[in-house]
């Protein structure tokens, strides 16, 4: 049986060494957990799929599912603590001292440069995620509608996400009726 400490350490490493989190953590899970025979590849694939659709961050969802698979509730707690702790420590340390660094013009310039990279990452996410998610013109129209509502009319982002449940339900219902008619 996998020790809780091993679960914790594996996910701690993931939190410490993966940039951006999410799917970047999968190679480490493969090496430290799948390759040791504690979880089957197909099960992990199932968990990854669920993590992407369940609410919450992918990294936390994968940690919860893998931890739970290995050692139940305690395992999932060990995994989630492991994956979140490095962020908590590193960011708190940076935040504690950062106000002093903010006075240095060079640091401000470096951050401006990094923010450009952030915009590129975000734009890239729109394109790559969009290619998978936007399957037809109506979905494109809907995505742009969500964008416009939030950007131009300050509609709440949460409300915008809720609209997906309403439209999804209506669409599914129409399709269901069509099928019933045939």
């Amino acid at each position: 049986m996998v020790s809780l400490f091993h679960i914790f350490m594996t996910f701690f490493k993931i939190g410490l060494f993966t940039f951006g989190g999410g799917l970047a953590m999968i190679p480490i899970i493969k090496r430290d957990i799948v390759d040791k025979g504690w979880i089957e590849d197909e099960v992990l694939a199932d968990y990854i799929a669920v993590s992407q659709v369940a609410p919450g961050m992918i990294a936390i969802n994968i940690a919860t599912l893998v931890g739970n698979h290995l050692r139940g509730r305690k395992g999932s707690l060990a995994a989630v603590l492991g994956v979140a702790l490095p962020s908590l420590i590193i960011i708190t340390l940076i935040a504690m001292f950062f106000k002093t660094f903010m006075e240095i013009p060079l640091v401000v310039s470096a951050l401006k440069g990094i923010l450009i990279v952030v915009v590129i990452f975000l734009g890239y996410a729109v394109i790559t995620m969009g290619q998978k998610a936007i399957k037809n013109f109506f979905l494109l129209f809907y995505a742009l509608l969500v964008f416009s509502a939030v950007y131009f009319f300050n509609v709440s982002t949460i409300l915008a996400l809720m609209s997906a449940f309403v439209i999804g339900t209506i669409h599914a219902f129409i399709l269901y009726r069509k099928r019933a008619d045939q």
Binding site: G21, G22, A54, I58, V83, I116
Partner: protein, 176 residues
């Protein structure tokens, strides 16, 4: 403080499809309520993206620290993680079972499209500040040049995004 904890719990609940979505959600809730200035929020995003760990957690921790110190950092991070931890650990079997249900499939079809709309919103929102800090007349062609250069670098080094961040920092120190 309870309000802030509640905000992060609620953001955690609606962060569907990864940390990138957390950026527009947190921005709207935190900046528009006047808890943190937009300018400082962008600093937080730059730091969150250039430090290890899931970006959503990094942003939640930083905002918590900024508002209420170490206790705040622990509380916002916990509040942010809690919904997914609870839902996934309690409902994993249900989610796996109903993943192919017609209704659930359509919910996610539209949710994923909405998420693209929101990430586009974050891109435009932050992009505006980066390219024109003080309205359209302040459009910065130097930034445009750097963006082109960094985009090419990113295209070549997609597998190692942290190198692009280092280049971004260096180029920023030289030109900005």
């Amino acid at each position: 403080m309870i309000e802030v904890i509640f905000i992060f719990f609620y953001i955690g609940l609606f962060t569907i499809g990864g940390g990138m979505v957390a950026i527009p959600l947190i921005q709207q809730q935190v900046v528009e309520r006047g808890l943190i200035t937009e300018e400082f929020f962008h600093v937080i995003i730059a730091i969150a993206e250039s430090t290890p760990g899931p970006i959503g957690i990094n942003v939640a921790t930083y905002v918590g620290y900024e508002l209420y110190g170490i206790i705040g950092a622990v509380l916002t991070t916990t509040a942010f993680i809690l919904p997914s931890f609870l839902i996934v650990s309690l409902l994993a079997k249900v989610i796996i079972k109903y993943r192919n249900n017609l209704l659930v499939v359509f919910w996610f079809l539209y949710l994923k499209a909405a998420v693209i709309g929101l990430i586009l919103y974050a891109t435009v929102n932050i992009g505006e500040r980066v390219f024109m800090p003080d309205g359209i007349k302040s459009f910065d062609f130097k930034v445009l040049g750097l963006t082109a250069l960094l985009s090419i670098l990113f295209y070549l080094l997609r597998k190692k995004p942290w190198i692009v961040i280092i280049f971004g920092a260096i180029l920023g120190m030289i030109f900005l």
